[in-house]
Amino acid sequence: MASPVVEVLTRGIGELNLRDIEVYRSTGGYVQLERAIKELGPQAVMEAATGSNLRGRGGAGFPTGRKWSFLPNNGRPRYLVCNCDEAEPGTFKDHMLLEETPHQIIEGILLGSYAIGCHHAFIYIRGEFQDGFEIMRDAVKQARAAGYIGKGICGGDYDLEFTIHRGAGAYICGEETGLLNSLEGKRGEPRLKPPFPAIKGLYGEPTVVNNVETLAYLPYILRNGAEWFAKAGPERSPGFKVVSISGHVKKPGNYEVPLGTTIRQLIDDCAGGLRDGRTFLGVQPGGGSSACLFAEHLDLSYDFDTIAKAGSMLGSGAMVVFDDTTDFVKASYALIRFYAHESCGQCTPCREGGNWIQKTLERILDGRGVDSDIDILMSAAHEITGLNLCALGDSIEPFLGSVLKRFEDQFRAYVQRAERVAS
């Protein structure tokens, strides 16, 4: 079958030096920004975002235009923050976009800011992306020199300040209110919602937080029209998506496809299929927080709604593929340890729950497990999920729960080995 791969955000990556503003401009870069400011006006950009039904590419999949529409008209300053705190296990698309095409991100941020009437935009880059931070810093310098950032952008009367903010190692700062706290110089602890950031965000003012990939699509939506985006893929979940595929495949990497491509196509036609002689056991379709899907799900359409209906989520669009060499006890342990480590500690179910599940799995892996440990693992969904301020706590259980149900024998085998040794 033909490869479903398309090139929108990924065009020119690996061939052109898109970090150079002149090269980016030669591909039509910053043309849409200029057009928006000189011809279209902010309302048209807002309508393009709404009309394209562009849903957030960071994890929650919330419609971008709708998110913007929640901003109150109260005359207060507004902020736009681009979320580049990519740390969801399995996700590496923003890493690539940041390092390869920084200007595309800047243009997206500018268009989003222009649409909502924001005059100070931020990009929050995770602390580990030292290279990406330096690349963005150079790109912003070029964009400023070219008159795209600052006062009177493109000769119009629109002003925008642009600040790059580097994080310092905390997954939870990818949660939008945790990110805002971190940007305010505080611990990255998520806030109680409501009020949502659109009402009370950065410095208590109306704020929009959008993912890198979401914003980067804006120039192309303007260039090709909202219809073009809305017509690609399923009606309620349209457009394109950069899918990060890793794990047990021949060609792991980022593949940009229209949503609605099947999981099987993504694995076989994009990522080269499984390694030779191996059989497929499962795939995590949307980052570390998503439940595992199995062979019977391979022909599902990869889009927000279908994957949610199957009991998992599209999330950040990160697929981790597992073949028959996978030890799901260890795999679960790696993820649970991550959530236990990254819990900000505000909510007891998340802070203590993750820690307990981690210790229980540790005991099982250490050959000290007992039968009732499996019951503790199974209790996680009931005892942790849905009881926390933010989604981190709800992300602890899905993968574990799904593979425990399917591969309970792997977990039992560890326990039985332990009991045999003990007797």
């Binding site: 996700t91 890493h95 030292q130 190692g169 110089g185 602890e189 990254e342 820690n355």
Partner: protein, 266 residues
């Protein structure tokens, strides 16, 4: 180490209002002050510059020293506790001196299912240290970290925050040799003070703090050895069969290992 010693180590010797001639930090403060002020000017609220300023001091001192925290507090006109509370949340701020090369190996899912355990074991064996530890010569610090967003090229790591992909033992040998020989491409971190075995404050002092630090702390609630924070799993723990087994287990396992929360399985 005595409590008194630990406390001195974490107390600033620099004070913006008290002149102590010969304090090395004076020169650094004077040097970085304009840059700090420029950072503050980037934001509507000065406190937003807290993390960027801490990065700046750490880039010069190699760790976020007590003096640096005092300086940041002074520049922000905030209590020291505000700065401490923020800095202690983030894993990239090192509260004590670390090695000139910070080796951070990913231990998350895509790396684990692609051989990261062998890589971690190889590092531990060849450096003779474990997670969150520094070699005696002060050259290497080693940490097993969470997903670095490079899963397509697993197993991966960062060396002083520069990515290294598709790791093999041979690459590690070459890298360690190049660093030891002073020919490695990635620049060494500054080291203004000799590091000790670990840079984690909590691990030694047993200070309990809520948050990312506390959860990996053996003194935190959780695990069968500690009933102090048990709330949600009471139902299971109170189950008689579980209690009996738990009791047996506790008898054979008097104490949780200090690194139980952080160590991989090797």
């Amino acid at each position: 180490m005595s409590t008194a010693e630990r406390d001195t180590e974490l107390t600033a010797t620099w004070d913006p209002y008290v002149q102590r001639p010969g304090n090395d930090f004076d020169a650094l403060f004077v040097k970085l002050k304009p840059e700090c002020e420029a950072l503050i000017a980037l934001y509507e609220d000065a406190r937003s510059a807290l993390i960027p300023m801490a990065h700046l001091f750490q880039e010069h001192e190699g760790f976020t020293s007590p003096n640096a925290l005092a300086a940041v507090a002074h520049l922000l006109e905030q209590p020291l506790a505000v700065v401490e509370s923020t800095i202690s949340f983030y894993s990239l701020f090192y509260r004590r001196p670390v090695g000139r090369y910070m080796l951070q190996v990913c231990r998350n899912l895509s790396c684990i299912i692609n051989g990261a355990e062998e890589i971690m074991a190889y590092f531990r064996e060849h450096l003779g240290i474990g997670h969150l530890e520094t070699t005696a010569d002060g050259l290497f610090s080693y940490e097993e970290v969470e997903c670095l967003a490079a899963c397509d090229r697993a197993p991966c790591m960062q060396v002083n925050l520069r990515f290294k992909y598709d790791l093999t033992p041979k690459m590690i040998d070459d890298m360690l040799a190049a660093i030891r020989g002073g020919t490695y491409a990635v620049k060494a971190r500054p080291q203004t003070k000799a590091p000790k075995r670990t840079w984690k404050v909590e691990a030694e002092t047993g200070r309990k703090s809520a948050g990312g630090v506390g959860v990996s702390n053996p003194n935190n609630a959780g695990g069968v050895g500690d009933r102090s924070g048990v709330i949600m799993l009471d139902r299971i723990v109170n189950d008689a069969a579980f209690a009996a087994r738990s009791h047996e287990r506790l008898a054979s396992e008097p104490q949780l290992r200090p690194s139980a929360g952080d160590g991989g399985h090797h």
